[in-house]
């Protein structure tokens, strides 16, 4: 008998929370982006866990799609970052201060 699913879910929730916290608090664009990935991974863990708990493959299929989406998002996101910050030294969101909320 393996570890109960709720443990995994709590872990995933914690990871999601940490990721969300990171996005809200960190100013470094790349790290914000990484926190986004962290959140997606927490979702993946949740889905896989539910897939096991419900004995249903749909959760794993979901993870499969999330992975594709994450890859696409990263490609575009990093392209964006490169095109924005080409020739700059500092990649913090504080550089971007014209638009305030």
């Amino acid at each position: 008998m393996s570890v109960p699913g709720s443990w995994y879910l709590i872990l995933a929730a914690a990871l999601f929370g940490i990721g969300a916290f990171g996005i809200l608090v960190r100013r470094n664009i790349l790290i914000m982006f990484m926190c986004l990935e962290l959140m997606l991974n927490a979702v993946n863990l949740t889905l896989v866990t539910y897939s096991r708990m419900l004995n249903d493959i749909a959760g794993q299929v979901g993870v499969f799609f999330v992975l594709v989406v994450a890859a696409a998002e990263v490609v575009v996101g990093l392209g964006l970052i490169v095109s924005i910050f080409r020739g700059k030294r500092q990649v913090t969101a504080d550089d971007l201060h014209i638009l305030r909320g």
């Binding site: 539910y50 979901g62 964006l80 969101a93």
Partner: protein, 534 residues
């Protein structure tokens, strides 16, 4: 070889779902033409032939819209159904939104023609991205499974991130592109987590199955489900800019190329709302008692914040961004009320809003182009005297803005009217008054913009200040008259600079704004018929 079939064909044979090509034709044609555009660029290599690419794109959108209409006719005769393994719904709702998306896309592409000419070598990619993104929107609108919805959302969003960042030569644009990207990703993550929790709570991602499960079972603990629901609401709320999640809107609307802003405020919002409406009506329909209070608070906040914050802005695009938040509040009202007819009212509002907003941004983009301003900064000051310089443009903008304000004999009025009637029909009188209050506040904004176009240029504005004690700009007939006459002659032909395609787009939106209000019944009827497959 033997091994291959031992593995693949062992167990039950794979039963592929019946693929209804007719149902996915609207999406497929957009994707196909997008690929064709890119191939054409690669094979022919004429990147400056913007009319050609625009024509291709518009043709695709047109075909997609016409086919969607055909589908909707089919639905009304043969009834709604879900296709391809229950992952897509073909119902009045989805076809309604597909048609709406096609219209929005046509307007966007037409307006973008001037823009992509300016962008030069990357123009065709813009067309392709717009088409792909619209196909994502259509997927979202007809999705009958949360996973399909998610994929559609991402196709839409990711192309949009690129479109927003299309000209990042300016700091403002860069910033808004990135802001949109990170927050969009954040919203997607929230939505996904909501999806995961909903899946855990109901055992399926299919909307019909979720609804079936919820109608048959009483959950011992609905916490996970509620959390999932709230997260889905938050995720989609980000996309359509409901109030606690609205803060990105003004920045992004301002920083993005105006063409894209129009697209975002029209097609994207429509798709987001389509998803929101479908998920909440179909999947969580039985949990109405749980989500209605949340939606009540959100819609009131959205209505008021959108209107109030819009009034204090200086930049026109920011104003319109906030006003779009106000509109979102109205659409949400229809969802909150959740009566039999309110869905149709929300849809009508969305349709009207999409048309008006696309048109408005089309004109703004035209103005920025004509005036040689940067895309990002069209302030009220810049609009001063526009009616002199570009009377037709100014008139179009005035009509569209007034329509947004809810002026009579425009679809804007009918839209507000229909949503309000749903609200009142459900006896939410106070809510109706709040909504009307927000309309009053927002109307001031639209009038301000309109007025600034019809008031004298800033130079004359200085004069007014000096003569304030003296009151009237009147009567000393001769001199003034002569002066005006001269000024007029030099500027009489200025309207001739309007790009043809954009002109057509604006005319289209104007015609719909007025025409669909004067002969209102077809659209009202169409929206009312756009029912959800349950």
């Amino acid at each position: 070889m033997r091994y291959l079939f031992a593995t693949i064909l062992s167990g039950t044979p794979i039963k592929f779902p019946q693929i209804s090509y007719a149902a996915i034709f609207p999406e497929a044609i957009l994707i196909g033409v997008a690929v064709t555009v890119m191939l054409a660029v690669a094979l022919i290599g004429r990147r400056e032939a913007t009319y050609g690419y625009t024509a291709l794109g518009v043709g695709a959108a047109l075909a997609s819209g016409i086919w969607s209409y055909h589908l909707s006719q089919d639905v009304s005769t043969h009834g709604a159904k879900s296709v391809i393994g229950g992952s897509l719904a073909v119902d009045g709702f989805s076809t309604f939104f597909m048609i709406l998306t096609s219209i929005g896309l046509i307007v966007t592409l037409l307006v973008a023609e001037a823009y992509i000419y300016k962008v030069g070598s990357r123009g065709p990619e813009f067309v392709a991205l717009a088409l792909l993104s619209a196909s994502g929107a259509m997927l979202m609108e007809s999705a009958y499974d949360l996973l399909v919805l998610f994929i559609g959302l991402e196709i839409l969003s990711i192309s949009l991130y690129v479109m927003v960042a299309f000209t990042t030569s300016r700091k403002l644009a860069k910033e808004s592109a990135f802001k949109y990207f990170i927050l969009g990703g954040f919203a997607s993550a929230l939505f996904l987590y909501g999806l995961a929790l909903t899946y855990g709570a109901t055992g399926s991602t299919n909307l019909a199955k979720i609804a079936l499960f919820l109608s048959k079972n009483t959950l011992t603990s609905s916490g996970v489900l509620l959390a999932g629901m709230v997260l889905i609401l938050a995720g989609l709320g980000f996309k359509v800019a409901l109030v606690p999640f609205q803060f990105w809107t003004p920045d992004v609307y301002q920083g993005a190329p105006t063409t894209v802003t129009g697209y975002m405020s029209g097609v994207v919002k429509a798709a987001g709302f389509a998803a929101l409406l479908r998920v909440f009506y179909v999947a969580f329909g039985t949990l109405r008692a749980d989500w209605q209070p949340i939606l009540l608070v959100i819609s009131i906040l959205t209505l008021l914040a959108g209107a109030v914050l819009a009034v204090v802005q200086k930049d026109v695009k920011r104003m319109l961004a906030y006003s779009s938040i106000n509109h979102a509040g109205f659409i949400l009202l229809g969802l909150y009320v959740a009566t039999v007819t309110s869905l149709g009212d929300s849809l009508y509002y969305l349709f009207a809003y999409t048309i008006m907003s696309s048109g408005t941004f089309a004109v703004i983009s035209m103005i920025a182009d004509l005036e040689g301003r940067t895309e990002m900064s069209v302030s009220l000051e810049d609009l001063r005297g526009l009616s002199k310089r570009y009377p037709k443009v100014a008139l179009s903008l005035a009509v569209l803005l007034l329509a947004q304000a809810g002026a009579p004999f425009t679809i804007g009025f009918l839209a507000k009217f229909s949503v309000l009637s749903a609200v009142i029909e459900a006896h939410h009188y106070a809510l109706g008054i709040v909504a009307m209050l927000s309309v009053v506040i927002a109307a001031v904004l639209y009038l301000r913009i309109t007025l600034s176009m019809y008031s004298a240029t800033s130079d004359a504005g200085g004069d007014v200040e000096t003569t304030q004690s003296e009151l009237i700009p009147d009567v000393s007939l001769g001199a003034v008259m002569v002066e005006l006459e001269i000024e007029d002659d030099t500027q009489a032909k200025v309207d001739s600079g309007i790009p043809i395609a954009a002109g057509v787009a604006v005319f289209l939106t104007l015609a719909m704004t007025i025409g669909l209000a004067l002969d209102a019944n077809p659209l009202v009827h169409f929206a009312a018929r756009a029912t959800l497959l349950r």
